[in-house]
């Protein structure tokens, strides 16, 4: 990841908690980080999204970017443009749907594409079942709104069947 002010590598990642509009994340080189942290210079308004967007734009033509921005997740409906602007994804499926597009960002941020840490001991839901769950919930909301309670209860049963019963465990702390 490059510094937001120059082309040097961003080795400092500063989260300002005090901005009136909420937390702001800065990605800066040593020089610019020192300016912000030590001299108390005004904090530039930026975000993860901005930094990510900058990285993306460096590697793509305008036309390619325009097409990419229109790409939309079939489950949550988020567009890549919306993601680039907010820095937040819309649903778990986005990691699959935008996988190829997210890879450069993930490499940039983490220098890795492979999780090597802890895994849930419960069998994780498959991508398909996660998509099904989101869709079923949406359908259930509509059924309730239309007062189709029989349909809603069928949908609820389907949701419960996918989710399964929680595993009983020992102590929390």
């Amino acid at each position: 990841m490059k510094c937001q002010y120059c082309d040097k590598p961003a080795t400092f990642h500063i989260t300002e908690l005090t901005e009136p509009d909420g937390p702001k994340v800065l990605h800066l080189c040593e020089h610019h980080a020192r300016n912000v942290l030590q001299k108390g210079e005004p904090t530039p308004v930026s975000s993860v999204a901005g930094a990510l967007a900058k990285q993306l734009q460096l590697g793509q033509t305008k036309e390619e970017l325009r097409k990419l921005d229109q790409k939309e997740c079939p489950v949550c409906g988020i567009t890549f443009f919306e993601f680039r602007n907010s820095g937040r994804l819309g649903c778990p499926l986005d990691y699959d749907h935008f996988e190829a597009d997210l890879k450069p960002l993930l490499i940039n941020i983490h220098d890795s594409l492979e999780h090597t840490g802890k895994r849930p001991t419960r069998a994780a839901a498959t991508a398909d079942s996660q998509v099904d769950l989101i869709r079923l919930r949406k359908e259930m909301e509509v059924a309730v709104e239309r007062e189709e309670y029989e349909r809603a209860s069928e949908l609820r049963d389907q949701i419960n069947a996918i989710q399964g019963e929680p595993k009983r465990r020992g102590n929390a702390t």
Binding site: T18, P166, N171
Partner: protein, 363 residues
């Protein structure tokens, strides 16, 4: 879990993480670990309908209630809280500013000792946090790992075989782990050696974050060091990077800076910290920033043995208890900035004046 609506009891006490003990507690205030988790089958928060948020909150709450040790854990519905109460929980570091200021169904479950809390519907569906006093990452990790396992036994997490725990922001994906160590570095600030620290960390991907102040001003002397990377390393590797590689090096620099200050002119240093204590003990009105500035000097003075009648735990608590929302909670009513400055000075006097400090009054 019990519904908690009155936070006054919390205001009078202080979390265990402020007790000023634990390894390296003269420099390390606290060790915090948080895990970001999302439930499978729901959109991330950005795309959640109000109904989704409500369902997530209800589901998490009911599932947490299945856990035997969670009976007595206070559960706070953030939507019902006043502005001051929300700010109070932010100052207490029990919730983030993001969840305090957001809209819609959201809540937090808080362990009475304040060692851990679970935010529901923050940027991710779940944000689990554990905070310990001093440099204590291993036991903080063991505790949060147990909590995570227990919750995971009750709910289905959004997990990807390749990308790990899926999070709303790609900066958290993988482990969802953020290790944060809060450091008090007045020696490096005074000697302007903080640049050396920056240089030493140049090739290590860590985040440096300032402790919040009342306004939008960066509050000097406190630095929070966290891992930036969350994907591609195990949790233990990330803990080691922050806890064994980065933080000890900074601690070493800070100790050397303090030694230098003492050698260079103990009288000057002693004068400086004594004046700071004098102002805090006698001022009739004082701002939050000024308080933080002088408390920082006094804290260093206590650690260097230049002030011997004030306890570290007292200073740690005063940093938090003199914040705006805390003052208002302790006073029992909403105060203007000007009234807060008067109340803050009075509060400081009550706890710093006299032959011995009055740490007991804070408990």
């Amino acid at each position: 879990m019990k519904e908690a609506t009155d936070l006054s009891v919390l205001a009078k006490n202080s979390g265990e993480w402020l007790r000023g003990t634990g390894p390296e507690s003269d420099i390390v205030i606290s060790s915090r670990i948080r895990l970001a988790r999302n439930l499978a089958g729901f959109p991330f928060i950005r795309k959640c309908s109000p109904d989704d948020r409500e369902k997530i909150q209800r589901q998490v709450r009911s599932r947490l209630e299945n856990l035997p040790e969670w009976d007595e854990i206070p559960y706070v519905d953030i939507t019902t809280l006043s502005e001051v109460d929300r700010q109070f929980l932010v100052e207490r570091q029990l919730i983030s500013r993001e969840i305090a200021d957001s809209e819609g169904s959201r809540a937090v479950a808080i362990d009475p000792s304040e060692q851990y809390s679970v935010m529901i519907n923050e940027e991710d569906h779940l944000r689990i946090q554990v905070m310990h006093s001093g440099l204590d990452l291993i036991s903080a990790w063991e505790q949060i790992d147990r909590i995570d396992d227990a919750i995971e036994g009750e709910v289905l997490y959004a997990f990807h075989s390749k990308f790990g725990y899926l999070t709303a922001c790609p900066t958290n994906v993988g482990t969802g782990l953020r290790v944060s160590v809060m450091l008090h570095l007045p020696g490096l600030v005074i000697t302007q050696q903080i640049e050396k620290v920056f240089r030493s960390m140049q090739r290590i991907n860590v985040t440096v974050r300032g402790l919040y102040g009342e306004g939008s001003q960066y509050t000097g002397d406190f630095y929070q060091v966290s891992n930036q990377v969350t994907l591609g390393h195990t949790e233990k590797e990330l803990l080691e990077m922050v806890g064994h590689e980065v933080v000890p090096r900074i601690i070493d620099y800070e100790r050397k800076a303090r030694e230098f200050l003492i050698e260079k002119g103990q009288q000057d240093l002693h004068d400086d910290v004594s004046r700071a204590l004098g102002i805090l003990s006698t001022a009739r009105k004082i701002s939050s920033e000024e308080t933080m500035h002088y408390l920082s000097k006094v804290r260093m003075g206590v650690n260097l043995g230049l002030i011997d009648d004030v306890q570290l735990a007292t200073i740690n608590k005063l940093f938090i208890h003199t914040q705006p929302a805390h003052l208002q909670k302790l006073h029992g009513r909403v105060l203007t900035t000007s009234d807060r400055n008067v109340e803050r000075a009075s509060y400081l006097q009550r706890h710093l004046c006299g032959p011995a400090d009055r740490a007991d009054e804070l408990n």
